[in-house]
């Protein structure tokens, strides 16, 4: 067979999110239309302009043993929990090698975050100032480095084909999964554990994002604050957590009789080359990523039944994405059920692509699109088939779903999955 164009499938999923400590509880909450946004009760939040966030449902220290947890940044804790679930869900146990179905040299990890170990960095800076240099943890560097989650997942499963960390702000998780698909497609690996994680609920990132006027200040209504496509949307709500998938060559999955959720068709990529933090106003960048996807796969727009949109609940971004989708897909977009799950999870930044890929895979697998909540008054500029209020069944037969992720810095990533 052509080793540079192998078919890739999804065989495992895992997540820990503001909606639940695993992918099943997260999915149940998504279908039920439940918000994970809560008030920030921490003392440090009292004076901030933003006092809400989608905080993790199950604290990682309740899941991981303390000696392990204290050597991991919160972002790596999330990633390890989600990766362990995905690994077991794929039917593996123990490390590759001990687990005979996976050759360590053919197993990779690609786990990304947008910001890295920011709570470790800032926490240890507090230690330095308040207690002196001797008290700064010797684990600080391995905890704060952005590749720490990917490296820890690699160590956990004995993955020796490579451990990678693409960084592209809020597109990081999606870029990681796209990178992993290519690793398998081009023959570098047979199995890759991939996804995104983020843990940035800390006063400094919140103050910084708030000062960019990017965040919702709807502190009085936490559950209604993340409202993509609604006329009253006023910015994103920060979320935290991780979503991880196990990707595998179709051949490898078939040989071991693995349960296959769907095919990972591939990715479309582009860069805005416009502004470091503002969306490109014409949608040229997003259209470029969609066109790139169509040019580099056998995918036809008529197959696409569902889109997990980037839709972060910002005034410009939400409608810009939809304009680009219509520009590329034409009237076919009217048949696509568009969901903005950030209305429930908040925006997990670099974790978003991971968690939303898990949601996209489950939408295909169960043939149902999760709702977008809080769309009380649809923005008249929204010209697409938004799944509002309640989950909506997806058609039988072969269907495709997309997951959009766009990051500060201008990277646009569209991932495509197909269920037969």
């Amino acid at each position: 067979m052509n080793s540079t164009n192998r078919t890739v499938v999804v065989t495992g999923i895992g997540a820990t999110t503001p909606l639940g400590g695993d992918s099943a509880s997260t999915w149940e909450a998504l279908l039920a239309g439940r918000s994970g946004v809560t008030p920030l009760e921490q003392e440090w939040a009292a004076d901030l302009p933003v006092r809400i966030a989608a905080q993790i449902a199950v604290e990682p220290t309740e899941v991981l043993p303390r000696p392990l947890a204290r050597k991991l940044d919160r972002s790596a804790q999330f990633a390890l929990i989600a990766a362990r679930e995905a690994w077991a869900d794929a039917g593996f146990s123990g490390k590759a090698g001990d687990e005979p179905a996976v050759d360590p040299d053919r197993l990779g990890t690609v786990v990304a975050s947008g910001i890295g170990g920011v709570t470790t960095l800032l926490g240890q800076y507090d230690v330095l100032r308040e207690q002196g240099f001797r008290k700064v943890s010797p684990h600080t560097v391995p905890m704060l480095m952005p590749n720490s989650p990917s490296a820890n997942v690699s160590i956990e499963f004995n993955a020796r084909a490579g451990t990678h960390t693409p960084v592209s702000a809020c597109a990081s998780g999606a870029e990681a999964i796209g990178y992993a698909i290519e690793m398998i497609r081009t023959g570098r690996a047979d199995v890759v554990v991939a996804g995104g994680t983020e843990a940035a609920v800390h006063p400094l990132p919140i103050a910084a994002f708030a000062n960019m006027m990017a965040m919702s200040k709807n502190n009085d209504d936490p559950q209604g604050a993340s409202r993509p496509y609604d006329v009253a949307r006023d910015g994103f709500v920060m979320g935290e957590g991780s979503g991880i998938v196990v990707l595998e060559s179709a051949e490898h999955a078939a040989k071991r009789g693995a349960r296959v959720y769907c095919e990972a068709i591939g990715q479309g990529i582009s860069a805005d080359a416009h502004h470091i933090a503002q969306p490109e106003p014409t949608g040229r960048g997003i259209s470029g990523a969609l066109t790139n996807l169509l040019d580099n796969s056998d995918l036809k727009p008529a197959e696409i039944a569902h889109i997990n949109a980037h839709a972060t609940s910002t005034p410009l971004g939400d409608v810009g994405e939809l304009r680009a989708l219509r520009a590329v897909f034409g009237d076919d977009i009217d048949h696509m059920a568009v969901s903005a799950t950030k209305s429930m999870t908040g925006h997990l930044l670099g974790g978003a692509g991971g968690v939303e890929t898990v949601a996209t895979v489950l939408a295909l697998h169960n043939r149902i699109a999760p709702p977008t909540i809080n769309v009380d008054n649809l923005d008249p500029e929204v010209d697409a088939n938004i799944v509002r209020g309640e989950a909506r069944p997806l058609p039988e037969g072969t269907i495709v779903a997309l997951n959009d992720s766009f990051g500060f810095g201008g990277l646009n990533v569209v991932l495509a999955f197909r269920k037969s």
């Binding site: 043993p65 303390r66 000696p67 204290r70 050597k71 001797r134 943890s137 010797p138 684990h139």
Partner: protein
């Protein structure tokens, strides 16, 4: 006030338990930090800093490499405590 050998071993056991999760009763003088107690070189720095504070002793970085076992550390602290 100087600590007795027993106090130092018990104190090190509590520190190793906190850092590596090893039960205190398993932290004995003949145990190697690296091989027996799951204390890697980074965690060893944490053990040293905690021991310095607890026993009011200075353990320079150059001396840390000689502290292979709980007994080595205990003897060092006994000798150098103020």
């Amino acid at each position: 006030m100087a600590h007795t050998k027993e106090e130092i071993v018990a104190g090190l056991a509590e520190i190793v338990n906190e850092i590596a999760g090893i039960p205190v009763e398993d932290v004995q003088v003949d145990k190697s930090f690296t091989d027996d107690l799951d204390v890697d070189s980074l965690s060893m720095v944490e053990v040293v800093v905690a021991a310095e504070e607890r026993f009011d002793v200075k353990i320079p970085d150059d001396d840390v490499k000689n502290l292979k076992t709980v007994g080595d550390a205990t003897d060092y602290i006994l000798k150098h405590q103020s």
